[in-house]
Symmetry: D2
Subunit: 368 residues, 4 copies
């Protein structure tokens, strides 16, 4: 019920504002006995960190995470894991205009209308800075899932320009500034972004997250469906406007004979799917196939183009967002999407274990 | 946490299998003093009911709902509202093949792998029949929201053939068999579906739900965002593979200057938006604009074309789904989508009242 | 969050009013594959059923439970189990006085002040009739716990007259009308109650519930402590005013050297406790010792003695409760207490499995 | 569901171990616009702080709380409030014996059997130090409740020696080292405790918490009863073994005519109760009378008397707890009990507002 928590058994609560003294999170329900130190979390944070290339916001801070509780001698103890990152880059500056005026496309007006009071500095609670804690929690979730599970994300389209799936190369993802699996697309995007930086505008993107090695049986009907949990998790990421699983919206254009995934027995006695339109989920439950999910990120609204808006006193205004400029927020959303997927899966695995403790966690048939 | 409940303060729990004695639901947390009888619920159920046109499944039953608790002398009392529909059309027939074999694209295999035991008759718990209870709960949620709120759905694409938005007519939605707002599209779809019925296949569709008259301030950061709640609610509907808000996936192809919605003050002192790319939600909080959300429904997998599959004994099989055939399950998903939207909004309204009891529920500025 | 649900993973929702058409409950989260039919539940309901002796309310109805979902061919399927009991004894009578006046000691006034509307017939939702559903859910919970766990309750004091613990005999509990483990006390209570029936008054009682065979490790710090869950579960039973674990309030009068339970290793390598002041819980976690908990039930307020009160119009009134008279509601609370304990333990077991799937569930040392 | 959170709408999560770098908490769901700074919280912490008299543990640290998020310019913003206290008194010492052996009456063994891994330093997560965060959260809850609500606690019995209720003086509570409302009892207790300190033993106590000024209508049937929430909240405090409301266990010894509280109309049109056996709650809902609840605290088990126990290697041991010695942990539980009551009431008030937004919050009749 808590507005700032997600997950049920693997439960993450985050707190903190962009320009407060710190941001943090609490991971509750983590199993005991997992090896966990800051070194397990920091590399994932470094992937998400701003200021790493010229294509993301230039906020410069190390984002160094500290574990304040929940581990002992390098092992999780089953008690809540408190994570904290101090905010260092709190430039003191005049927030006068932002304090009063509501940036179009931002949460400013909505917060004002809901709460009456808001911390306008750097977006306050609505800042993408909050996602650092998701990435940290995701690192813990990966520990819960274990080494057999791989969760990888990539940017698959930017501003309507999609990657060539035939050229997909996971290694390429870490070799360009865009988490792009297609080097040719990455080259085109670089050019495009340089142009957008000059014009002061921004562009949207699509992120794909693929989870492999997860057992069948995760998720549960009717309102705890795995894909519904993923949808909520992705849609809660800043600037996300759409979510899809497997074939997604394209499935709406298909006929039934083309969309359903046929099956046969593999030589090892497990079920082999001949296709994966479903994206690894049927009836809200994982089938053992790779989980494939995507989300659409809108172009950031903080652009250098003057826009019409209103202020808190009910006056018409024209506003130009100054300061840092992030031409494609979708880029940094890639590690965030991976982390959310990891958290959802860790939670679903724990729920499955609770209800079906002797579940075989395999597609081998006959089961009984 | 409950797998078969959704909502937090306005909380709906459903139960029942397709071919069990009954299906039902419990609405907990409903405010007291609302007028509510079966007559408030039945019309919405009648909209969803199968067997009404040649384009939906031919299961014939009245789906008559009974209220078993939670009202007194025609008013809600604040105690749980129990709703029940008896299953009448439980044809006794031989389920032999379905009992053993897993229909491609269905939840059969996933249930088997997760639970080991499953009620295979008519899909058991995974049957779309469960959605009748969502519709019933949605009728109660509309009471909570009050007359000022309008929630309407429509089918906006079928098999890749989209409506012409310039021709949108809400009245048309109730005048064809498809909840289609564009009579010309409806005529094309009719032809297409007749053909699909003959070929024994099926087709996907896209549903759009629009909520008007809702106050600003509903939804809350970070993990109780209104759009995240909608995403989970829609994705939990049978056969849904994608969800989007406002511009949705199309936003990923836009630049920031085109996507953000400018604002100005209206003569009555409220905020006027010059566009609604956001779909009525910013930072996870409603802005007072119309809420616009869509979901993609895959083509039903129960088709008359033989498909390769496996059975519970680990043998390769070929399967043809017999019996009722629903060429486009997306059609009946329209009232279900409306109902889920109503439930999410009722819940969000109650949560907002709890945290900000004196919230003005208007976009009038200055607020303070 | 739902007001009418309890439990987290083994989650029970109840609904229904005393004089509505039926009462019911939904058990969500139950593991699949457990054998379950009405015959597993009915005997527990029969124990609680009113009208069985002259010492409990004379409402006469069979309380026949029906399972409407969640089982298939005699096994649980992991989907929600819907339970329903039709109300048969809905005497049509004039509720005029009760409709307007608030019975002292009852929930009447509180419901009126909270909801404005209330079903006054037979106490509506606040009737002890609701506890039938707890007993039904408890029967399912016992299945989850398995045969190795024994949960037994007894009445240990009535009107200040306590049993002799030296004379405790579990067999006696089923052989008198009071669930009394001490035949001599039962004889005294019988006399006392006959007298109270004549005078039209009532008396309070204390119920003790003992659970044996439960593994160590159930419950979790800090707010999911096993004893805190038991306290809430017991306190939610009608007319309960106090709850204690192990030594309970008596511990407040002890010194530390007398209260702490010493330990030694048993020959079989498990931990042996030399005493059980703790009642089987330390730090909110079960130790493997018998769980011992008690709750105090106030005397029923529906008595034949005239009492001063007010009515909904703000007038002073004098009221005599007519109709059925239950001189000691504590008696029927015994099976209810057992059921609540069973539900709490089933839930705690499932939570423990989720977080520590490889927990040894024994006190054998060294564990690792 | 989270083990380390309590509350539903006013939701508190705590984290931290006794000898880790810090302890902390997150208050989520707090209404916006309340004035809140560290100065509102610190005085309550100072009341609970150890090392203040010779009768409580001598751990010496200032327990200075910092607010890390959720406020802006001195007002709450509706976003999560993060609270942090650094641990300063982390004496480096040899924990050898405690690391291996399980102290009788402590959570040591239970944690070991549940988690396999535990932070044994100072009791780790099971340390009473966690309650500092409850007190901090309680200070926020008092803000939510507003000035009209008074919540006060007192120690009403120590080691079986109860206060004289005729001599009750709330002013006295702050004038002795025991939160004792009866100066004569305080004098007796002082003597008793000096003696216990010499003998190295400890003693139990009973705490009473009284809340005045709360409106009727808080709490909800059936499993969200106000008294059930209080019972869980109190039972979750370290060393608590019993909870009671109003007459409590004494009600079990009363007859119905003596226990029910008669009512009449007061001159101002509100309901006047002639007694308060119920302790302010009927049917789980507040009646507007003072809420009266008590809890029993066992004697601390950390005593200087040698005790028989076992170690993690399965060996019999004899153990003497060294270090700080707290002869009556019940004393410091008084501000903790107040805080838990405040949190439960704030949560119940928010839930009531959500479901019945136009509830009159008074006992004035006729209501409608």
């Amino acid at each position: 019920m808590s507005h700032n928590s997600f997950g049920h058994l693997f439960r993450v609560t985050t707190w903190g504002e962009s320009h407060g003294p710190a941001i943090g999170g609490v991971v509750d329900g983590c199993p005991p006995g997992l090896s966990l130190t800051e070194a397990d979390i920091q590399p994932w944070l470094d992937l998400r960190r701003p200021g790493q290339s010229k294509f993301v916001t230039q906020r410069q801070e190390p984002d160094e995470v500290r574990i304040l509780s929940g581990t002992f001698e390098g092992l999780t103890t089953g008690t809540p894991i408190s994570l904290l990152i101090e905010n260092q880059d709190q430039r003191s500056r005049d927030y006068g205009e932002i304090a009063d005026s509501f940036r179009p496309g931002h949460a400013d007006l909505a917060y004002h209308l809901k709460y009456g009071v808001r911390d306008y500095r750097g977006g306050g609670r609505s800042s993408a800075r909050e996602t650092a804690m998701r990435v940290a929690a995701g690192a813990v979730a990966r520990k819960v899932l274990g080494m057999g599970v791989s969760i990888r994300g990539a940017l698959v389209a930017m501003g309507g320009d999609a990657v060539d799936r035939a050229a997909w190369d996971w290694k390429a993802v870490r070799e360009n500034d865009f988490f792009c699996p297609d080097p040719a697309a990455a080259a085109r995007w670089e050019e495009r972004l340089l142009e957008l930086r000059r014009s002061g505008s921004s562009v949207g993107a699509v992120v794909e997250v693929v989870a492999e090695g997860i057992p069948p049986g995760l998720g549960a009907p009717i309102y705890g469906k795995l894909d519904a949990e993923i949808a909520a998790a992705f849609m809660s990421i800043n600037a996300v406007k759409g979510v899809e699983i497997g074939e997604g919206f394209a499935a709406a254009a298909l006929t039934g004979d083309r969309n359903a995934d046929e099956m046969r027995m593999a030589p090892d006695g497990t079920v082999e799917f001949l296709d994966n339109h479903a994206g690894g989920v049927l009836g809200g439950i994982s089938t053992g196939q790779p989980l494939v999910a995507r989300f659409a990120v809108k172009p950031t609204s903080s652009i250098l183009v003057p826009r019409r808006t209103v202020d808190r006193h009910g006056r018409d205004r024209e506003l130009v967002t100054k300061g840092r400029h992030d031409p494609c927020v979708g880029i940094r959303a890639v590690p965030v999407g991976e982390a959310m997927m990891a958290c959802v899966l860790a939670d679903a695995l724990m729920r499955h274990r609770a209800q079906v403790p002797d579940a075989p966690l395999t597609t081998r048939l006959p089961r009984n």
